[in-house]
Structure formats: C-alpha cells, structure tokens
C-alpha cells in the first residue's frame, strides 16, 4: 500500500529560493537551488561547461536529444530536477541518472562541477544504499543511508587533460537536524544549525579507506584516502564553502545528492476527471521530454517498438526505457504505473501483392490488456491514473481507466477476451486494406475499438483519448504541450464519433 505524502516529483518550472541570506550571516557564501535542465540551459556558465563535454547527436545547440556522453555511458539524465550547489570557489550541478533496468539498492548521479578557474569536472556517482532513503519532507531532503559510492570520471571530448584531478571521495553538505541529512536551502532558512561537510563517502574500489562517520557531525577518519582529518567536521562560522581535502588537494567533487525528486518523492495522488488525469500526468517536463524523444520518425520507422514506462522504485516514480521482446513487441513489467510506446510502421505486402501497413494505428488489445492488468494493479487505489499511450504515424492515442475493475468483472472480460481479440484484428485488417485515406482509416479504427471495448465489457471502464502536439519544434520543453481530446461513440451512424477537447 502506498502512503501518500507530499512532495510532487513534478517540479518542472520552479526555482527554489536561495538560502544565501542565512549563510551570509555566517559568512557561508554558498547556496542550494533546484532547477530544471531547461532553465539551466539559459545560463551562460552552465551552458559553457555543459557544451564542453556534451556533443549532441544532432548538431545544434538546443540541448535536445540524448547526448554522446549518455550513449557512451549508457544512461539518461532526468532533466526535470537538477540540484545546483554554488559557492565562491565552485559550482556543482547534480543530475539524477536513469537507466533501462530497475534497481532498489542504489541510485546514480551525474555531477558536473566548475571551479573558479572554469575547470570542469564531471563524474558519475553511484550511491550504494543500506536501506531505502527516509524522507524529510519538511526539509525537502532525505536521510541517506549509504556508506559507499562508486565514482566514475567522465572522459569528455576524448581529452583527458580537460578532466581535473579527481579524488576518491565526494563531499556532501549536511544539515544537523534530526538524523543529519543532505542540506537544502530549507535547512538554512529554518536555522537548523551549522551545515557541515561530510566527506566520508568514498569509492573503496580506488583505494580509499576513509571510514569517517558523519551523522552526528563528528568524524573519525581511519586514515588514507583523499579525505583526511577535517572531513565530516562541522565548519566554523567563517567557513567559505571550500574544503581543503575535497578541493584544495585535487580532491573529488561536492554534490547535493539527487534522488530524482525533491525530498519525499511520493507523488501526491490526485484523481480528477479523465481529462485531468491524462493531461496532468503527461504535462510534466520529464514526461514531455521523454515523449518528445520517443515521438520521432526514426522510432516510427524502426523495425521494432520502442517506448518507456513508469515504475515505483523506493516509493519514487521513475521512468524506464522499455525493451522489445519476442516479435519486436514492447512488454512492460509488473508494477508499471503507465506506459508510452510507439507502434512502429510495418509495411506489408499481401501474398497477392496488395501493399498495406500491418501495424495498429490505435491502441491494440495487448495495450488494453496491459492497462487493465499491470497498470490497473500498480495504481492501487487510484486506477484512474493508469494509462497506456500509443504513438503512431497516424495519430497519438491513450487508453485510460475510468474506474476500478473488480475481480468478477475481470473474470467476465477474460472469458470474452479471445473473441475481443479476434474481432479487433478481423475488423482492423479490413479497415487497413479497404479504407483509402489515413483520416477515414483512423476514424474507422477508433470507432471499431470503442465498439469492441463496449462489447467486451470495458465500455464504462476504459476511455480513449487522442492527442495533438503544440509547439512541437520549440526547444523549451515547457512550451511543448500534449493536448488531449476524449473520443467517445457518437449517437448514431451519421455521427459515429464525438471528440471533446480536454480543457
């Protein structure tokens, strides 16, 4: 059972207020901010640093697409929340990393740090968790129960000279409140005590033996490594934000760990109208960026399906890339809250030479099955938030749940499922081969799907939506909009479909 608390992961457009005033009183001139990737790309300092090591696949400067670095190291950056930590001496940007597979025992960050001489350092930090993070929603933070990290330097532009010397430990500014935890501006604003720098997180694989404890602000370094005495010690009031062991001696980076969302990442579960549910969930920057990357001619013309799904990991919503299996179809795992995928084109020639596209241009029976089973169950008490989106070259569609499906209802639907599938493919092949225009085909397919859903007993359970994209070529993801319309059966054969735009 999910507990519902209450910081949304969907912090798409906010910038946290700086905690610099509190620090100014103590001569601690550093600040914590949360930003989106889109916001950062408007900042010259970040842009310069980022362009140094991120060559785009597409040769432009609009920061679209997956980078060569992401491809080389096999990860994707979550662009919706970037943690910025800045002092007079350096600024670091910490990105949450997503990969294709699910892991509950660690999370990863990309940390990009720029020092006062504009030297850029970039590392991947992998935090090995002893237990799931305990969240402190009041502080928009969490208790990090990890005692080991793995640090992988990013070799950008194949020019090692651009990578500054790296230590084997990282520095995390800590807030001495309740169990000491990574600081945010809230800790400063609430005057929770002096922040202190924890440098006890070390990469054992590179020879560090630092074992300093940090939870109470007292350290007991057991020698070696790049973080010696002083690490884990609360700073004095005139501390300037630098740390001799981390930065003075060519040490590692300082970071504000990023779990992909702010503090307590359990998303507040909101259930509204069917229109509101699909619009809200597909209108976050992180979703839209993934959707935009998916909805490309390359994916539509590929020889297999592609897509992504959202799952809960340690209580937090995470996107994962789907992997096509079997006959190039995308399967989503148990626990998927929703799924978005491309039905790739399947040019076919019938045995007697008739050309047609064999792919479903609307949600398939298998998509409906994923919705009413895996997504229904994963959304627990709020199945109205479940959706499966199908991207085709002839339209973008979503099926969503209107209400919960009881066990007895599911049994009844299961009994008719084979006939539902037979009728769906029977009629859709006829439509594909006999309707001459994309518009008439699409309308007939939508009508057929809605009618068959009714016949199988899902007429009051599953809603069909159709989307159009606004500002498709706008580089700012905040301007990219997925506009939904609800499609329902019309009253008669002269008006077979009704389309109602979502407000």
């Amino acid at each position: 059972m999910l507990s519902f608390t209450f910081y949304s992961c969907q912090k798409d457009e906010f910038i946290e207020e700086s905690g610099i005033e509190s620090h100014s009183e103590k001569n601690l001139k550093f600040e914590f901010k949360n930003k989106t990737f889109a916001e950062l790309t408007k900042e010259t300092k970040f842009k310069k640093a980022y362009q140094k090591f991120i060559d785009k696949k597409v040769g432009n400067s609009n920061f679209e697409g997956r980078t060569i670095m992401e491809d080389q190291y096999g990860f994707t950056i979550d662009s919706s929340l970037v943690k910025e930590f800045s002092s007079e001496l350096y600024t670091s940007y910490t990105f949450f990393i997503t990969r294709d597979s699910l892991h509950n025992d660690y999370f990863e960050n990309l940390v990009v740090e720029i020092d006062s001489s504009n030297t850029v350092t970039a590392v991947i930090v992998k935090y090995f968790l002893n237990s799931p993070n305990i969240t402190y929603p009041e502080h928009k933070s969490f208790y990090l129960d990890a005692n080991a990290v793995e640090i992988t330097p990013i070799n950008f532009n194949n020019d090692l000279s651009k990578v500054s010397a790296l230590g084997d430990c990282i520095g995390i500014w800590m807030c001495p409140w309740q169990d000491d935890h990574p600081a945010t501006n809230v800790c400063v604003e609430e005057n929770r005590g002096d922040l202190w720098l924890d440098t006890s997180m070390c990469d054992d694989s590179v020879g560090s033996s630092n074992e300093s404890s940090s939870n109470n602000g007292e350290s007991s370094s057991s020698g070696g490594g790049s973080t010696g005495g002083g690490s884990g010690t609360p700073p004095t009031n005139d501390y300037d934000g630098s740390d001799p062991d981390i930065h003075g001696n060519g040490g590692g980076v300082t970071t504000s760990p990023n779990t992909g969302c702010e503090g307590n990442c359990f998303e507040e579960v909101i259930v509204g109208t069917p229109c509101e549910n699909i619009t809200r969930q597909t209108n976050t920057a992180s979703y839209k960026q993934r959707f935009k990357n998916l909805n490309t001619p390359e994916n539509i013309n590929a020889n297999q399906e592609s897509g992504f799904y959202q799952n809960l990991v340690n209580g937090k919503k995470r996107f994962f890339d789907g992997v096509p299996v079997g006959n190039q179809h995308l399967q989503i795992p148990e626990g998927s809250l929703n799924a978005t995928h491309v039905h790739n084109k399947k040019p076919m020639v019938s045995a007697t030479g008739i050309n047609f596209d064999g792919s479903s241009k609307i949600p398939s029976p298998e998509d409906v099955a994923q919705l009413v089973t895996k997504c229904h169950d994963a959304n627990s008490t709020n199945p109205e938030n479940a959706f499966v989106i199908t991207v085709t070259d002839q339209g973008i569609f979503a099926v969503t749940l209107l209400e919960s499906i009881s066990q007895s209802e599911e049994i009844a639907i299961t009994q008719n499922w084979r006939e539902f599938k037979k009728n769906y493919y029977d009629l859709s092949i006829g439509i594909k081969t006999e309707y001459s225009t994309p518009e008439s085909r699409s309308d007939a397919l939508q009508y057929m799907l809605l009618k068959q859903l009714k016949k199988v007993g899902l007429g009051d359970k599953v809603a069909l939506f159709k989307a159009t994209i606004e500002n498709e070529s706008d580089p700012d993801i905040n301007n990219y909009n997925i506009k939904w319309s609800r499609i329902t059966l019309g009253g008669n054969l002269f008006n077979p479909l009704d389309e109602t735009p979502c407000p």
């Binding site: 299996v325 079997g326 006959n327 008739i354 298998e366 499922w417 006939e419 037979k422 006829g430």
Partner: protein, 191 residues
C-alpha cells in the same frame, strides 16, 4: 399461468431483440445493432472442407467451416450476425507418428482457433488465435486459392502477431510459446 405469460413475453422479447435489422457486406465497420454481415458473394464456402499437406516431415490437416449467420452478443447488450469462416488444424510428426497438435475436435465457433479476416482477390487473410494457456498468442497467414484448380490451395505468408491478455503468461517470451502452424509455404490438397 402467470409464469407462462412471462415466459412467452421473455421469448418474444429475445426474438425481437435478436432480429436481423439490416444486411450489410462482410467487413462493414459502421452498422447498427442487429445487422447481418453477410457473405454476399458466397466466397467463404470455397475453403470449406478438409485440406492436407506435408512439410518438413510433418502432416498438416486443416478443416475450414463457415458459420452462417453466427450471432455475436456483447456484454453491453449489442448484437449482430456475421458469416464467419473459421478453421482448426492438426499436426502429425510423420517420423514418429506422434500427434503434435490437434484442435479438430472443436465444434463451437469459439473453440476454432483460425479466423478469416478478409478476402482480397484470391487471397484469404487469416489469423490464428491461441488459447489463454498459450497467452492468447497470435499469428497471421494467407491461403491462396487457384481459380484453375479448386482442389489445391497454397498456405503462405506466416507471421507472428501479438500475444498477451488479462491472465498472466507463463512463458517468458513469445518464442517460448508453442506454435504448430507451418512457418513456410505449403500446398494443401482438398480431401
């Protein structure tokens, strides 16, 4: 007496509700309740009967049946009639004489795994729909008739379709699900 009246009223209601309201050609999409999607050109019957062929030391026996004016009712109370060409098949390993697959004992429409989608010229586009135990696995193929030789047809263009339904699939991948339809071209002869 009251019950008899009720029964008569019930039967009358059922009769009225299941009347054919209009007749439309096969593959019509937009039709009203009670429509009869009829094989107006009488094409479906061309495949009716038993057809056999051998491929890779396996004997394939197909039986095709037309279910005329098959009544389909929906959970929503809707209904229509349709002429449906359905099929079932059996596979025997000629090396061991072992029956690998046999669906020939099916008698109800719902138990037939093969369904004709559409007829395009000489081509019958077909789909095979497996049972829930086999994860509703689906495959498509075509049957080509030879207008000059009505005793032979060609099976070809086998292609795997989707799979999965509401019940958990006990197979890890679609390749793991047993599939007994021929995957290569095959000449079938009428018995």
């Amino acid at each position: 007496m009251k019950n008899i009246i009720k029964l008569i009223l019930f039967l009358f209601t059922v009769n009225v509700s299941c009347q054919v309201t209009n007749i439309v050609p096969l593959n019509t999409v937009y039709y009203s309740d009670g429509a009869y999607l009829k094989d107006l050109n009488n094409e479906l019957s061309l495949l009716e009967g038993t057809w056999e062929g051998t491929l890779n030391n396996k004997k394939y026996i197909f039986q095709f049946t037309v279910f005329y004016q098959h009544l389909e009712t929906g959970a929503d109370g809707s209904y229509e009639y349709e002429d449906k060409l359905s099929g079932k098949f059996k596979v025997i390993d000629l090396g061991t004489n072992q029956v690998l697959y046999d669906n020939l004992n099916a008698s109800n429409y719902e138990d037939y795994g093969i369904l004709n989608f559409i007829i395009l010229g000489n081509e019958f586009m077909m789909g095979f729909f497996d049972t829930p135990n086999n994860c509703y696995n689906q495959a498509d193929f075509s049957i080509i008739k030879d207008p000059n030789n009505l005793n032979q047809i060609t099976y070809k263009s086998f292609e795997m379709g989707d799979y999965g339904g509401l019940t958990p699939c006990n197979y890890n991948t679609q390749e793991d699900i047993p599939m007994f339809l021929p995957t290569q071209e095959l000449i079938l002869t009428k018995q």
